[in-house]
Symmetry: C2
Subunit: 311 residues, 2 copies
Amino acid sequence: MEAEFIHWLRECVPPRPSMPLALTDDAALVRWAGSPHIVVTTDLLSDGVDFRLAVDDPRRVGRKALAVNLSDLAAMAAEPLACFVSIALPSTGIGADQPLELAKLIYAGLLPLAEEFGAFLAGGDTNTHDGPLVISITALGNVSKRGLLMRKGGQPGDKLLVTGALGGSSLGHHLDFTPRVREALVLHENYELHAGIDISDGLALDTSRLAEASGCGAVFNSIVISGNALDLAQQESASDLGAAALRHALGDGEDFELLLAAPPSAADAILSDRPVECPVTCIGELIAEPGLWKQFGNVARTPLEPTGWQH
Amino acid sequence: MEAEFIHWLRECVPPRPSMPLALTDDAALVRWAGSPHIVVTTDLLSDGVDFRLAVDDPRRVGRKALAVNLSDLAAMAAEPLACFVSIALPSTGIGADQPLELAKLIYAGLLPLAEEFGAFLAGGDTNTHDGPLVISITALGNVSKRGLLMRKGGQPGDKLLVTGALGGSSLGHHLDFTPRVREALVLHENYELHAGIDISDGLALDTSRLAEASGCGAVFNSIVISGNALDLAQQESASDLGAAALRHALGDGEDFELLLAAPPSAADAILSDRPVECPVTCIGELIAEPGLWKQFGNVARTPLEPTGWQH
């Protein structure tokens, strides 16, 4: 539904010079007279959709609510600056936790991450209602010296790099992932990157978004399949374990890894320099021909469905 | 619950030079190297708490969700700049409206207000969940040339001015009020104001907050009772209509009018110049003695309960 809604909204909201990215990227850029730009992102999470309080520790839930926003800032290579946290607490509490206790647990998970990444808590709103837990966080960031990384800007021939490994996030990674803020800042400052996105809705879908925004197509030559994706495939007793794991890596979403498009020389330098702690892998390239493709080994290129979480 | 929670939170979050107002005023001030400050406020509204979709038009609900944020910016005499809108839609929709239709109606109420006050829509998040409608909006504003208006700064002898009339907002004003952004900017730019707050939780409670933040007490000499407050008193068939209406004006909340503390000369100038369209009335003054008081006519000063909406 969200894709259709954003399409409608773009028709309603006129473009403005002060909001050059309005409604197109992972975060918005706001600028005004005499000021550096500011990057702003907002994400709303609900119980039963983005987490399950019946089984998930409220601390992990609070942490996730901030982490997904930090991942959006990372996608644009912006430096976290502040966060604002609005919470609707179920008036009955959850289990043995009264609303106030629940709020404290959420913050106990959120605040250390805010400190770690410099997204200091600056304000918020805490209410109770007759409904499930809802957490809405808005995070502000600085544009880094090299400017903003965006979905557009990729060129045919650019290598596609990913951080970490993909798929099976529902096993727990979606609550405990480390947003790739540091990686984005280091890579963007020291290497030529043309485009970037965070993989929140699935590698295939988010790659097709970056490619489309860049006016290109994309072809995968390899995929970094996570242990979780393999675990999930195994739990499903899939007859073809490899194919099932690949399906998870391509379409699961909530990996919150970075997908970057970089010219071959920069990509090679990143792969040989290893400037960040997490693994960075080349999984394909942007091509002139539109669409999403795979070409694993010495076979012909075949089209690939942009699977992922369509909101 | 919120007051207790904010008290706990302030203990957890260390003060930072970059967030000089964190968790004390209607909005937060964020500053960073080489940049003018930015004012940020966030409010979350839920169905059944802040509006009732069963009877309230979704357009009025969307408008209110933004207007309460604009009122917070007005309280600090900040100029609206951008807004970010996160919505959790009930997955079943409301009445005949499917979630997508509901989202469009909410925006149809919100967008004209955003345009009118320059709080241009810059981003957001729209999801469905198995729960009531929740709208969380974050608004950004510029600090005006005269700097920020805050709750602190009032001095004994300052006159207390209010815009508009108070009480009975539940009859509809809480959905349709005009945030006092223009009034705050004009008054702050042209007259010496010492302190300000928007009356969101009740005149008595919000006055005691301003007075306390300013290290003063406050005494009311008169109250501007709205027609709605009188209507409510009448509907309740109160034996003492005047006392009932006064109770509504003092404690109802959601008036979203401004309460300002200004030195007598500035207050007199505002009252005689009439520089804004809405009525501005002097209702009392700040005093050295702490607490909230009333002194209507030639009687002794008596203490007044800081009634209002305790979250």
